[in-house]
């Protein structure tokens, strides 16, 4: 539930750095059936979503599902391939000059779904629109992150959007001027906020421009039906530049709130893809081995201590934090509670992160019996006994899965250490408010990488981070993370940060996520190795039974 929007792949960009000043160009990418595969007559892909799209306006989209659909309906300058590498979209190539502060994109000749050409002006319009205070996009911060010249002033309303550092040199050349050097800028253009929008349509229909009857897009699919909280249908857009390599004809998303009903409907053959309910992966892997998948994702699940002034005195004692972390048997949680192949976590950053080597931390190598013994010892040293038990509230947001983990953790503490942890669950918005105001003792946290690089996780624990709700502060960590930004060997910094965290235990890492899916055997092309799970429906195809 706390899955964040995936943004851009920094790792890939860094790999491209060497050739950044040269003209960079790529080969195209599309659905590619293997030899011997017979295509099914019905090329319809139907998948389950937990909730309906709040918006399909590329500049306003902020959720994962919405981004998935927007990638089908619109196309930005850059795309990702199945492994998360950067490949061309509307841009044929780009050139970074002036020390990575000026980016020039060469666009291909392509059309909107109404037959008009897609030009650099459409991008200029969309980007100004995204930064315009009148649009009030929650993703203005993303435009800010892109460091486009004058963006902060535009967002504040001090400058007109036309002064944003983006211009169309001609119909097929887009030039962006940045305020700071960003080697990975091109990767950021794979994100929906930067997708082009058709000015005439937006201006004619206002907020209603995203209705199926009004929408003009440049993606591989066109929206033909959008019933809020029920379904959307997208069909092949024959004006799309790579239409001939698209196989899938129709994409249908169905909103099904209950994961168990979704699974029933999947098994009844109504869906091609759904999520596996918590705890059911082993049974389904046994009964439907060819359809059940578990693969690593870029997300980390943890509990954070409130170390601010409002937090309990007990947690300021490092021994207490260690004892509580040691007493959690992470194998039980991943293997016997969640059962979806989740990775027990002793460090913060998931091992699946590109270029990140999981450092060895002492307690990660102990047996659980050793950890338990140490926990009992430390807690006794800190002055807590069965007669004088440690008591605190543990806060989590309402969800079946979070409840299970919280119940098991609290019982581990109770039975091993005599600690009395009171469970408190709150619905999402209340939870965010309470946690954000440090009005808690211990709270659940989770983070999914914005981009595929370790700093997306470790930055969270720096003093200034907006997501550091436990308010842990360590000068050395701040320093290491700051120097990592410019370091050519940031891995060393990350290792040291993880070691400091293991030594001070400001949060209790619990597990690293996996994606656990049921995918119809007939459907091919799902990007299981894209840890950010950015998929493009046009890369899928269905084979005959």
């Amino acid at each position: 539930m706390t899955i964040l929007k995936t943004k851009f792949s920094k790792g890939a960009a860094i790999a491209l750095l060497a050739g950044a000043t040269a003209l960079t160009s790529f080969s195209a990418y599309a659905a590619s059936p293997m030899a011997g595969e017979t295509l099914a007559a019905d090329q319809t892909y139907t998948y389950r979503m937990l909730d309906g799209f709040p918006s399909l306006d590329p500049q306003l989209v902020e959720d994962v599902n919405g981004s998935d659909a927007a990638r089908d309906l619109f196309e930005g300058l850059m795309n990702q391939d199945d492994d998360g590498n950067l490949i061309p979209g509307v841009a044929l190539s780009y050139e970074a000059t002036e020390g990575n502060t000026v980016y020039t994109f060469k666009l291909r000749k392509s059309n909107w779904s109404n037959g008009e050409p897609v030009t650099a002006k459409d991008f200029v319009y969309a980007w100004r629109r995204a930064a315009d205070p009148k649009t009030a996009s929650p993703y203005q911060w993303y435009m800010d992150l892109m460091s486009i010249k004058n963006v902060a002033a535009v967002i504040k309303g001090d400058m007109d959007p036309s002064e944003l550092g983006v211009e169309a040199l001609d119909d097929y050349t887009l030039q962006v001027t940045l305020s700071t050097a960003l080697p990975y800028f091109a990767d950021m253009t794979a994100h929906t906020t930067t997708f082009p929008t058709h000015q005439a349509t937006v201006e004619e229909f206002g907020t209603e421009w995203t209705r199926p009857e009004n929408m003009v897009g440049n993606g591989a699919y066109k929206l033909t039906e959008w019933v809020l909280k029920e379904r959307t249908t997208r069909v092949r857009n024959t004006e799309y530049w790579d239409n001939e390599n698209t196989i899938l004809e129709t994409v249908i998303s169905m909103v099904i709130s209950d994961e168990n009903v979704a699974l029933t409907r999947y098994l009844a053959g109504e869906l091609d893809k759904t999520e596996v309910p918590a705890g059911q992966y082993p049974a389904l892997k046994e009964s439907n081995p060819a359809e059940t998948f578990s693969f690593p994702r870029l997300c980390s699940y943890y509990y954070t201590f409130n170390l601010s002034d409002t937090g309990p005195e007990a947690f300021k004692d490092q021994r207490v934090r260690h004892a509580l972390s040691y007493a959690i048997d992470r194998n039980v949680i991943s293997e016997q509670v969640l059962k979806g192949g989740q990775y027990p976590a002793y460090t913060f950053t998931p091992g699946a992160t590109a270029g990140f080597e999981v450092p060895t931390v002492p307690y990660g190598t102990w047996t659980q019996a050793e950890r338990d013994a140490k926990a009992v010892e430390l807690l006794a040293e800190a002055g807590y006994t069965k007669e004088n038990p440690l008591k605190f509230d543990m806060l989590y947001n309402t969800s079946e899965g979070h409840k299970k983990v919280a119940v098991v953790m609290s019982q581990m503490w109770k039975q091993k250490l005599g600690v009395e942890a009171t469970l408190a669950n709150q619905e999402w918005k209340t939870f965010l408010e309470v946690r954000g105001k440090q009005d808690f003792e211990m709270a659940r946290g989770a983070w999914c990488g914005d981009y595929n690089e370790a700093s997306t996780f470790l930055d969270l624990l720096t003093t200034e981070s907006g997501y550091n709700d436990g308010k842990w502060s360590n000068a050395r960590v701040d320093e290491l993370m700051a120097s990592a930004k410019t370091s050519s060997n940031a891995g060393v910094n990350y290792t040291e940060v993880e070691q400091i965290m293991a030594a001070e235990m400001p949060v209790i890492p619990v597990y690293h996520y996996t994606g656990v899916l049921m995918i119809n055997e007939q459907l091919k092309g799902w990007p299981l190795s894209n840890v950010q799970q950015k998929f493009y429906s046009r890369n899928f195809y269905k084979v005959a039974k």
Partner: protein, 307 residues
């Protein structure tokens, strides 16, 4: 009669205003806001969004603007969660869905429930009676959040007869399961009520007289017994109808119908202030409307009651 209706409408307006005030204040008291997110938005961005939705204004101005828009333009404002839609749009899409399966459920509950009740009363103390009573109590205590997934398992997974959810513009095969799941417990209540009041009527002196006169049972029931025995059932139907519409949360969740029930719960949870108030007003108005209709029908059925 006319005076009664005018009076009801006149009193409905302050009631609805109170309801708006209540949900307005409650929503503002709730922790978090529509734009509270996991990663706190930068101050400038939040300011832009608040300005767009008028949330930068003081409370009383927001409230006044809302009421003004509602009264003068019948405009319930933009949804805060669904950024491409207005509350009017959402209601225009979801309300017909809710009404469709709500009305069908109502019809099924009334027809089946009454038939069952009348049959049980007429065949009082026979095995038919016992079965009817057993079914109706059983149906009444089985929560519909149990029945809904069971229906999907049976009709979709095992038999493959019906789609397991969705609405598809109200195609008949998408409507059946929601109607069964929603109508069952109401049907049971109606059956029990009908049976009780029918028994009472059948034991009354005038029916005994009719029987003594040798009138056929069918005539007695349809000419003389049904109308008076409808009275207690009638007073149940108004709340039952509103209940079917508000109780539709479960139906919307399990059958993904896109109806109003789930929109309401989600609006409360995601702090979509305007959508929540819009639906509250809508259902408040519905409640008043249907209780008025019931009162009128009541007067029609029982000449002793004056409006």
């Amino acid at each position: 009669m006319l005076k009664f209706i005018v009076k009801r409408v006149a009193s409905a307006i302050p009631t609805l205003l109170l309801l708006i005030l209540f949900s307005f204040v409650m929503m503002r008291l709730a922790p978090g806001g529509p734009f509270t997110s996991e990663r706190a938005l930068p101050v400038e961005v939040l300011a832009n969004i608040n300005a767009k939705y008028g949330l930068d204004q003081p409370w009383h101005i927001q409230l006044w603007r809302y009421i003004e828009g509602l009264i003068f333009h019948l405009d319930l404002g933009p949804s805060f969660k669904y950024k491409d839609r207005s509350v009017n749009d959402i209601i225009a899409q979801g309300f017909p869905v809710t009404m469709t399966y709500g009305l069908w459920s109502f019809a099924v509950a009334v027809v089946v429930g009454m038939s069952l009740g009348i049959m049980a009363a007429v065949k009082h103390n026979t095995w038919l009676d016992y079965i009817a009573v057993g079914i109706s109590i059983g149906a009444q205590v089985l929560p519909n959040f149990i029945m809904a997934p069971i229906l999907v398992i049976i009709f979709t997974l095992w038999l493959g007869w019906l789609p397991g959810g969705g609405w598809n513009g109200g195609q008949w095969n998408h409507v059946i399961m929601p109607v069964i799941a929603l109508s069952t417990s109401y049907m049971a209540s109606i059956a029990r009520l009908t049976r009780g009041s029918m028994l009472e009527v059948l034991n009354s002196n005038y029916i005994r007289t009719a029987k003594a006169k040798g009138l056929p049972m069918r005539t007695i029931i349809f000419r003389h017994a049904i109308k008076p025995s409808l009275l207690p059932v009638m007073s149940y139907l108004g709340p039952a109808f509103v209940g079917m519409v508000t109780g539709s949360v479960v139906i919307d969740i399990y059958f993904s119908t896109g109806g109003m029930g789930q929109f309401f719960v989600d609006a409360a949870l995601s702090r979509d202030y305007s959508l929540l108030m819009g639906i509250t007003v809508l259902f408040g108005a519905m409640t008043i409307l249907f209780s008025t209709i019931v009162d009128i029908l009541y007067a029609w059925l029982d000449p002793k009651i004056k409006l």
